[in-house]
C-alpha cells in the first residue's frame, strides 16, 4: 500500500453525539496512523459535550509537522459522521468541493426534536444535501450492523472499517488488528475485527 | 330529566373555549377557584394540594376540559339549566323544583351520626344498598380541618361519613379518579360549585378512552352559603381551641350569627364576624345556594318552632325524576320520614337564595370595576 498522504496535512473530522464512541474511534484511527509513522494531532472536547451534545474530533495527519487541533473552516478532507445531522452540521462548517463523506444513517434525536419543537430532516433530504456538498459520499447502516453484532457502540468501528475501505489513507485491516489486540482483551477484539470488516466491505 | 344528551345549540353555547392559560388567568389567579377538583385527575397538569388548586406543569393546548368544566369559568347557567331540566319546573331563585319537602332519616342513629336530619346519608346508603349506584363520593375527615374525599362502596361506610365539612373537599377530583377505575355507576354528594362542574362535564363531548362522566349516577346537592378557606379557618380556630380536639361544627340560622365548634371539652362559639374573613374568595361571587345542578338538594330545615326543633330536620328540593324516584323509594321503605311543610317556608328559602344571587352580582360587578380600574389605570 502507498504510505503517503493524498494531502499534507490530511484533515479528518469524526463527528457524532456524545456517547457514540467518537473518542474511541478517533484514538484507534490515530494510533494506526502513528504506527505508520505519521505525525497526528487530535483536537477534541469532552465534558459537557458528553451529555447528549454534539461532539467532533478533528484529526490532522502529516508527514512531519504538528498542526493545530482545530481544522480551519472549509478544511476537511474526510468527514466521518456517526450520526446523520452531525455529519451535515460538520459539512456545513468544514466542507469544501473535494471533501469525502461517510455517514452512518441511524438518527439520534435531539431533545428539541423529541419534544416536537424542531423537525428532524428526512433521510432523503440528508442524503441529497451530503451528495450535493461533497466529492464522494457513502451512506452506511453502521448501527444496525453493530446491533446485529451485539453492541450498538461497535457502529464506530464499522465506520473506521469504511474509512479503510475508502482507500484515502494508508491503513488496512492488519494494522487495525495490531492496534486492537494491543489495547483490548481477546474477547472484545474479535467483535471489533468483525465490525471493521463489515465497514470495509460496505464501501468496497 | 338529567341526562347525557345535549340539546345541541344550547349546549354549544355552554362550551366556553379556553385551556390551562385561561384557567390560570381567569380563575386561579382571579380568586375564582372553589377547589371543586374538576380540573384534577383528568390530566397530569393540575393538582389539589391542601385546599389550593395548583398548576404543576405548563400545558399549551388552546382548549381543554379543565377550563370547559370549571365552575369558576364563564358559564351560561340559563342554557345549562334549560338543557338539563324540565323548563316548566324552573324557578328563578331555586332552579328546578319538582317537589319541596321537610324530611329526615327515620333512624335516630343515622340522624345522630349525621349533621342535621341525616337525609343525605340515608339516601346515599339506600342508593348503594339497592344497587342504584355501586360507589359514592363523600367527604371524609382528613388532616385536621382539611377534609379528604372518599369513594365508598358499602352503605355502612356512607353512614359513617355524615358530618358537614365547612371546608370544600375536591369531590370532583375524586369522581374523576374513581371513574377511571372499575366502578360502574357513581353517586356523589356535591356542593353547588361541584354540581355545576359535573353538569358542565355532562355537556362536553364524552371521550370513550378516558372520559368517565358517563358513569355519573346520582348527584345529591348540598345547600351552601359559603365555604371556608382551610388555612384561614385553621389559623382562626387554632387560637381558640386545640384543633385535634374538634369533633364537628355547625352554623345555626343566621340570627345566631355564630359558628358552633364541637370539641371534646364542650362547645366553642365563634362569632360569624370573625369567620366571615375566612370565607373562600370564590364563594363571594357564587349565585347558587341550593345546588341547582343536582338530582335532589338537601339543607338544614327552618321551622317556626325554632332551631332546637329544626336542627334535626332537612329541607329537600327534588329536581329530577331520578331524585323523585329515590325519595319515593326511601319513603316506601320507611328510610325517610316527612312532616308538613310550614306555610311560607318555600318563599323564605327563595328569598334567602335570591339574597345570595344578588350578593354574587354585586361582587362580580365590583371585581369587574377593579379589573377595569387596573386596566385603565
Amino acid at each position: 500500500m502507498n504510505g503517503t498522504l493524498a494531502k499534507d496535512p490530511f484533515n479528518i473530522i469524526i463527528t457524532g453525539v456524545g456517547g457514540q464512541g467518537n473518542v474511541m474511534a478517533s484514538r484507534i484511527l490515530s494510533d494506526m496512523l502513528v504506527r505508520r509513522g505519521f505525525k497526528v494531532t487530535i483536537g477534541e472536547t469532552f465534558g459537557m459535550s458528553q451529555r447528549g451534545g454534539s461532539v467532533m474530533s478533528h484529526i490532522r495527519v502529516s508527514e512531519g509537522k504538528v498542526w493545530s487541533p482545530q481544522i480551519p473552516k472549509g478544511g476537511a478532507d474526510l468527514i466521518v459522521g456517526l450520526e446523520p445531522i452531525e455529519a451535515v452540521r460538520v459539512l456545513a462548517g468544514y466542507g469544501n468541493p473535494s471533501v469525502k463523506v461517510l455517514v452512518n444513517m441511524r438518527p439520534i434525536y435531539p431533545v428539541g426534536v423529541i419534544t416536537g419543537e424542531d423537525e428532524y430532516p428526512p433521510a432523503e433530504a440528508i442524503r441529497a444535501a451530503v451528495v450535493s456538498a461533497g466529492a464522494a459520499a457513502r451512506f452506511l447502516a453502521a448501527t444496525d450492523e453493530a446491533v446485529k453484532l451485539g453492541n450498538p457502540i461497535l457502529g464506530n468501528i464499522v465506520m473506521i472499517g469504511a474509512v479503510a475501505g475508502l482507500g484515502v489513507l494508508p491503513i488496512d485491516g492488519e494494522l487495525f488488528e495490531t492496534v486492537v489486540r494491543a489495547g483490548m482483551p481477546a474477547g472484545r477484539a474479535e467483535a471489533n475485527l468483525r465490525a471493521f470488516a463489515i465497514g470495509a466491505a460496505a464501501v468496497a | 330529566m338529567l341526562n347525557t344528551e345535549r340539546k345541541d345549540d344550547q349546549a354549544e353555547k355552554e362550551i366556553i373555549r379556553g385551556g390551562q392559560r385561561e384557567l390560570a388567568e381567569r380563575v386561579l389567579d382571579a380568586g375564582l377557584c372553589s377547589g371543586c377538583g374538576a380540573c384534577v385527575n383528568i390530566c397530569p397538569y393540575q393538582a389539589i394540594y391542601r385546599d389550593r388548586t395548583v398548576v404543576l406543569h405548563h400545558c399549551d393546548l388552546a382548549q381543554g376540559r379543565c377550563y370547559a368544566c370549571c365552575p369558576g369559568a364563564p358559564t351560561d347557567r340559563e342554557g345549562l339549566l334549560t338543557g338539563l331540566y324540565d323548563a316548566a319546573e324552573l324557578t328563578p331563585e331555586l332552579g328546578a323544583v319538582k317537589g319541596f319537602y321537610i324530611a329526615r332519616a327515620a333512624d335516630e342513629g343515622v340522624r345522630r351520626g349525621a349533621q342535621h336530619g341525616g337525609t343525605v346519608t340515608a339516601l346515599v346508603a339506600l342508593a348503594l344498598r339497592e344497587g342504584l349506584i355501586d360507589a359514592a363520593v363523600l367527604a371524609d375527615a382528613g388532616d385536621g380541618l382539611l377534609p379528604r374525599p372518599a369513594t365508598v362502596r358499602e352503605p355502612e361506610e356512607a353512614l359513617r361519613l355524615g358530618k358537614s365539612r365547612f371546608v370544600v373537599s375536591p369531590a370532583v377530583a375524586e369522581f374523576n379518579r374513581a371513574a377511571q377505575g372499575d366502578a360502574g355507576r357513581i353517586g356523589i354528594v356535591a356542593t353547588p360549585c361541584q354540581a355545576l362542574a359535573l353538569a358542565k362535564m355532562r355537556v362536553q363531548p364524552v371521550t370513550a378512552a378516558y372520559g368517565g362522566i358517563e358513569k355519573l349516577g346520582l348527584v345529591v346537592g348540598l345547600f351552601c352559603g359559603w365555604a371556608l378557606s382551610w388555612r384561614g379557618l385553621a389559623s382562626l380556630l387554632g387560637k381558640k381551641t386545640d384543633l385535634a380536639a374538634i369533633t364537628g361544627m355547625d352554623i345555626p340560622p343566621s340570627r345566631y350569627h355564630s359558628l358552633e365548634v364541637y370539641t371534646q371539652g364542650g362547645i366553642v362559639s365563634v362569632s360569624l364576624d370573625e369567620v366571615i374573613s375566612c370565607v373562600r374568595e370564590s364563594c363571594l361571587s357564587c349565585p347558587d345556594m341550593t345546588a341547582e345542578f343536582s338530582d335532589i338538594s338537601v339543607g338544614s330545615a327552618r321551622l317556626p318552632e325554632g332551631w332546637e326543633a329544626a336542627r334535626s330536620w332537612n329541607q329537600v328540593i327534588v329536581r329530577t325524576s331520578r331524585g323523585a324516584e329515590l325519595l319515593e323509594l326511601a319513603r316506601r321503605k320507611e328510610i325517610i320520614e316527612f312532616r308538613e311543610v310550614p306555610a311560607g317556608n318555600l318563599e323564605k328559602l327563595k328569598a334567602a337564595a335570591l339574597n345570595k344571587k344578588k350578593a354574587a352580582e354585586r361582587a362580580a360587578a365590583a371585581q369587574n370595576d377593579s379589573i377595569l380600574k387596573e386596566r385603565t389605570g
Partner: protein, 647 residues
C-alpha cells in the same frame, strides 16, 4: 488515551496533552500528586493514579483545590517533588494558600499545573489563571504542543528546585484534551526519604520553619527568585522564533495559539512576511529576548487566550525600550484585532493577519458557500440534557412538583456538576433552578435568601448540591446556615461519584484515586452532626420523596434532604437496564387533552420519542437506560416497565 496505554522510552506514541504532562511529571520523579477533578485537567491525576505505588508515587483526589495544594506543599517541604493539578477556577479556590506558599517558598520541586478553558467549553467562566503568576510572583510556563507539554513539565520541577518556589505550568483545553505525537523520555530511579527539616532559625528557608514571615524580607527574597527565573528564561529553548530575520509582521504568541498562528500563516502563504515568536516562558517575560525581536519588526501582533496578559507586558517593555527599539504598531486585543472573550482558532488568527498584511484568505466558491448555508439550515440544534436514566432529572421533577404545590414561588440555587445543566437549560430542570456560580455557592446563596424573611421575602430557597461539591465547599456554608438560623432546604444529590468530570471518587465513595478501599464520610451523618434534621429519599421514588420535600419546605430552619441514586454512567449501571420499557399505543393519549405529550414535551428524556406519523410516544431502545421512571408519570399508564433479565 492511547488505545495501548503503555509508553516506552524512545518509542513515539500518541498522547493526550494531559497524558504528556503526567509523563513529564513521572520523568521528573514526582512522588506526590494531588488535585480536584475539573475539566480539562482531570486526566492528569487519572493517568498518574495508574502508576501509583506505595513508597514510590502517591496520588490523591483531595476534597478541594486548596487542600490539594496543601497536600502537595507538604511533600515539597519534606524534600519530595510534588505536583498539584486543577482547572482555572481551582486556582481561585487555592489562591489564599498559594499567596502564603509563594511567600514561604518550597523545597522539593513543586509544580502547579492549571488547565484553563478559553471559550468555556466545559466551564461557566473563562477565567485566566496566568495572572496568578504575576500576582503571586512565581514563574509561568506555557507549553505549545504535546512534546513540549512533557518536556516543560519535567523541566519545571528543576526550575522549582533551582529557585525554591512554585512554578506554574499553564495548559488550555485545546492542548490538554488534544492528542499528538510524543516520544517518552527516561524514567528516573526514585530515591530520597521524606523529612521535614525545621529546627533552624525562622530566617533559614532550608532548615527553618516554612512561613511567609518576616513578610517584607521573605517578599524581597521571593522577588530575587523571580529575577533568577527571568535570567534563565532569556536562553530557554522553549522560546522559539521561526520566520524571516526582519519580518514585516512579528507575531508573539504562546500555548495553543502558537499552533493557530502557524496554521494561519500557512493558510495565507505569508511565511515570507510574518515571523512567529513562540513564547514558552511567559512570566517573567525575558526583556532581552523581547528587545532582540522587537528591533526587527515595525508591526507586532500578539495572539493569546483569553485576556491580554502577554500583550500588556510586551507593551510595557516596548515603552521601556522605546529609545532603543523605536515606535511600534501593536495589534492585539485592545484594538479589536482579536477578540478579548472566547477562544481563538486558525480562522480568526488568519483573518487578523490577513487584515494587517492585506492578504485575503482563500475562500470557497460563492455557489458552494450558498449550498453549505442550506445544509446549516437543515440541522436542528442539539441541546445538552441529562443522560437517560439520570437521577437528577427525577430529582428536579420532584422539586418542580413540590414547589408548585408549595405555591410560594420558591426556587433552586444551583451549583457545579451535571445538575448545573438545570440552570443552563431551564427546561432540563423544569424551570426551577435560578442561580449558578462557583462550587458550594448555591448553599451560601440559598441560606442568604433564608435570612430575608423579616424583609418580606416569602419565596423558599432550595440549595441543590452534588455529593462531590458538598465535600468541596458546601460544608462551611451549611454550618453557617445552622448557626445563623437561616431557613434553608438543602438537597444533596448523591449519585456516588464526581460525575461531570468523569466519575472520579470522593470522600463519599469507598474508594480513593488509586483504586484502594477508603473510609467513607457519610453526608447524612455529617449534616446530622450539625444539628440539622436529615431526611433521606430516593429520586426514583417520586411520590414519597415529593411528600417529604413539601413537608420540610413548610418548616423553619435548616433541613437536609439526601437524595441517593447512582449516576446512570456509574460502573454498576452503565449499559445495564433494570427495566425493558415500552409504550402501549392503545393507551397512549398523545396530544389529546388529558396528556398533551407530558413525557416527550415536558419530561424530555432522550429515550422518549414523539412519533409524528402515529401521534404516539415511543421508547428508543438504544438510548433508553431502563430506569423505568417515565412509567410513573404517564397519566394513562401507557408506559410499561418489564423487569429486564439479568445478563
Amino acid at each position: 488515551m492511547s488505545v495501548d496505554g503503555s509508553w516506552k522510552e524512545g518509542v513515539e506514541v500518541l498522547l493526550m496533552g494531559n497524558e504528556a504532562i503526567a509523563r513529564g511529571a513521572l520523568e521528573a520523579g514526582v512522588r506526590v500528586a494531588a488535585g480536584y477533578p475539573g475539566t480539562p485537567s482531570s486526566e492528569i491525576i487519572e493517568t498518574l493514579s495508574r502508576f501509583a505505588q506505595a513508597g514510590r508515587l502517591y496520588v490523591e483526589w483531595s476534597t478541594n483545590e486548596k487542600v490539594a495544594m496543601e497536600v502537595a506543599a507538604a511533600a515539597s517541604f519534606a524534600g519530595l517533588r510534588s505536583l498539584c493539578v486543577m482547572k482555572q477556577n481551582g486556582v481561585n479556590v487555592a489562591s489564599d494558600f498559594l499567596l502564603h506558599l509563594t511567600g514561604s517558598g518550597t523545597r522539593g520541586g513543586m509544580v502547579l499545573v492549571t488547565c484553563d478553558d478559553p471559550g468555556a467549553l466545559s466551564s461557566v467562566n473563562e477565567g485566566e489563571s496566568r495572572h496568578f503568576a504575576r500576582l503571586m510572583e512565581i514563574p509561568l510556563v506555557e507549553p505549545a504542543d504535546f512534546q513540549e507539554a512533557k518536556e516543560m513539565t519535567r523541566w519545571a520541577f528543576e526550575l522549582s528546585e533551582e529557585i525554591r518556589n512554585v512554578v506554574l505550568v499553564r495548559s488550555v483545553t485545546r492542548l490538554s484534551h488534544a492528542s499528538g505525537n510524543v516520544v517518552p523520555g527516561s524514567l528516573p530511579v526514585l530515591g530520597g526519604k521524606a523529612e521535614f527539616l525545621c529546627d533552624g532559625p525562622v530566617s533559614d528557608p532550608e532548615r527553618g520553619p516554612v512561613i511567609s514571615a518576616p513578610v517584607v524580607q521573605k517578599h524581597r527574597l521571593q522577588q530575587e527568585k523571580l529575577r533568577r527565573a527571568a535570567q534563565l528564561f532569556e536562553t530557554s529553548p522553549f522560546n522559539v522564533y521561526a520566520g524571516p530575520e526582519k519580518p514585516e509582521l512579528l507575531i508573539i504568541t504562546s500555548s495553543a495559539c502558537a499552533l493557530y498562528s502557524r496554521e494561519a500563516v500557512a493558510i495565507l502563504g505569508a511565511e515570507g512576511r510574518a515571523g512567529i515568536l513562540k513564547i514558552g516562558t511567559t512570566w517573567p517575560l525575558p526583556p532581552a529576548l523581547l528587545k532582540r525581536h522587537l528591533l526587527g519588526a515595525e508591526k507586532v501582533l500578539i495572539v493569546e487566550e483569553v485576556l491580554p496578559f502577554i500583550e500588556d507586558q510586551v507593551k510595557i517593555m516596548a515603552a521601556e525600550q522605546a529609545r532603543e527599539i523605536g515606535i511600534k504598531t501593536f495589534y492585539g486585543k485592545y484594538d479589536g484585532t482579536l477578540p478579548m472573550a472566547g477562544e481563538l482558532n486558525p480562522d480568526l488568527v488568519a483573518g487578523a493577519i490577513g487584515r494587517i498584511l492585506g492578504i485575503a484568505a482563500p475562500s470557497l466558491p460563492a455557489a458552494y458557500r450558498e449550498k453549505l448555508g442550506e445544509l446549516a439550515a437543515l440541522t436542528p440544534k442539539r441541546e445538552q440534557t441529562f443522560c437517560p436514566g439520570c437521577p437528577h432529572r427525577a430529582s428536579y421533577w420532584i422539586i418542580r412538583e413540590a414547589l408548585q404545590r408549595d405555591g410560594r414561588r420558591g426556587f433552586v440555587c444551583g451549583d457545579i456538576g451535571c445538575y448545573a445543566m438545570a440552570v443552563l437549560f431551564q427546561a432540563a430542570g423544569f424551570h426551577t433552578a435560578k442561580t449558578l456560580h462557583a462550587m458550594g455557592s448555591g448553599t451560601g446563596l440559598a441560606s442568604g435568601f433564608g435570612k430575608l424573611g423579616p424583609f418580606g421575602m416569602e419565596q423558599p430557597a432550595i440549595a441543590v448540591c452534588g455529593d462531590s461539591t458538598f465535600y468541596h465547599a458546601a460544608v462551611p456554608a451549611l454550618i453557617n446556615a445552622v448557626h445563623q438560623g437561616a431557613d434553608l432546604t438543602f438537597i444533596a444529590l448523591d449519585n456516588s461519584g464526581t460525575a461531570m468530570t468523569g466519575f472520579q471518587p470522593h470522600p463519599g465513595t469507598a474508594v480513593n484515586a488509586m483504586g484502594e478501599a477508603a473510609p467513607l464520610v457519610d453526608i447524612g451523618a455529617l449534616c446530622a452532626s450539625l444539628g440539622a434534621p436529615v431526611f433521606c429519599g430516593d429520586p426514583f421514588d417520586p411520590v414519597r420523596t415529593r411528600e417529604t420535600l413539601n413537608e420540610i419546605l413548610e418548616t423553619e430552619g435548616v433541613k437536609v434532604l439526601v437524595l441517593k441514586q447512582s449516576c446512570a454512567l456509574s460502573p454498576e449501571k452503565k449499559g445495564k437496564k433494570q427495566f425493558l420499557v415500552r409504550v402501549d399505543e392503545t393507551l397512549c393519549r398523545g396530544e389529546d387533552c388529558g396528556c398533551n405529550r407530558l413525557c416527550t414535551r415536558i419530561f424530555r428524556c432522550p429515550g422518549l420519542l414523539w412519533n409524528r406519523e402515529k401521534k404516539k410516544a415511543e421508547i428508543d431502545e438504544v438510548i433508553c437506560a431502563g430506569c423505568g421512571f417515565c412509567a410513573g408519570i404517564c397519566p394513562a399508564g401507557a408506559i410499561i416497565n418489564e423487569e429486564a433479565a439479568r445478563a
